[in-house]
Symmetry: D2
Subunit: 138 residues, 4 copies
């Protein structure tokens, strides 16, 4: 599986002349949604079936600056999954030079439309199997 690609946009810069750090958090989301779709978990379908997946925790370590026009590669990986919560790590590198740009993490749960925690293991075994399969391969 290859990685998610993003070209840094002008509107993502700030007056330091670099990409504003909050945008990496958004890129992690884009990469996560793309990654899940590769595993057969389509986020749009998941939401339409009544589950939302809010972010419980997010963190990032900025290793070097990304500038307007740079293309970065974002590699998400599932690091923990127990049927109820899901954790991922992210590695962002420059596409051209391979230079490390950011290391990140995020943690998620799954809620039904009334806001109650959903066990994917019990209620959505096909999503559970998709995440579990990936976890085992790591």
């Amino acid at each position: 599986m290859n990685s998610y690609e993003h070209q840094a946009q002008y509107y993502e810069t700030d007056q330091m002349g670099i990409i504003h750090h909050s945008n990496y958090i958004r890129w992690m989301e884009s990469a996560r949604i793309w990654y899940m779709s590769q595993l057969g978990v389509d986020y749009r379908t998941m939401e339409e079936s009544g589950i939302i997946s809010p972010v419980l925790e997010v963190s990032s370590q900025y290793k070097s600056m990304v500038r307007f026009g740079d293309t970065v590669l974002i590699e998400p990986e599932i690091t923990k999954y127990n049927g109820v919560t899901l954790e991922l790590s992210y590695r962002i590198t420059d596409k051209e030079s391979g230079e490390l740009k950011m290391l990140g993490k995020s943690k998620h749960c799954f809620l039904d439309s009334s806001g109650k925690i959903v066990s994917l293991k019990k209620s959505y075994p096909e999503y559970d199997r998709a995440f579990m399969a990936k976890l085992k391969r790591v």
Copy 2:
């Protein structure tokens, strides 16, 4: 009625060293929602009652640059309203110097949860009266 106040944030800057032009479109929204609430039309309540108000058109003329830390005043006004569509104009000035920063316009309709156009005049006379009263005073 006084105007909506906003202090330009660091994350709103771009690498030109000025506020990115897309943010003014967001400020117009903030000012519009604040202005409607002054007229007795609470946007949150409106959405909870099943109406959404999408933007049909938006335009802005940038007159001078806003920089990080500047405080601007945004003055919305209702320019047209016919019971079905609503148009506003916006004037953004620097709070300290009074310098004109932007002139803007937006046009809106009202939709029910099935996406059908709602006539406020027929279905929500209290909102209709609020907009109409303001229009007449202009």
Copy 3:
């Protein structure tokens, strides 16, 4: 020349369940920068040589809603250019259905590092020729 492609991101949605209208303004910028690079005008190089190109005016008419996951095509075109100011139009359509999503316009000038208006015609004839050539072909 083909068009600029963008997939609507989750972080671009709002609680109406559609892409927030301010993001289209950002997509117009991405498409404009991409389009200029096709004409041989690299925006990063232009800024490094000391010229910035602020937005003087922007407008958009929203024709139908874009939703999370949709892929849109953005087609910019130069509509006016006189050596000092540049105007473009934009047409956003759904990649799959071809449905019209937005029509937009933007107007730009060129400034040197001291904030003075630059005539590309006089000072940067290679950029001038690139824009002029495109204009003639329209």
Copy 4:
């Protein structure tokens, strides 16, 4: 010292019907800049004197959802400072109910215009004293 106040904007929502998690990272920045100015460290002046302060690390734990229209209080505190790097923690609560919304952290360094690390202790003793004084009081 009181806390930084922010009203959650419509453009900050996502299609889950809550404030998108990336915006809290932006709010932390706004609160940090406000907090520093209370300590006598004006970020605009700092940048004009040639220092930038990039974010090295950021993390947040989301405790409960913030919705459109809610007003939150953001309380930054300096947790570590050694003359070269600065760490802060953030606590976001609902203004009305006091409910905890987020706990966050950020880590920063200071760079001169050539990208070299600046020791505030050596080169900007007035900033150093401001941060140190606050740290001692914690």
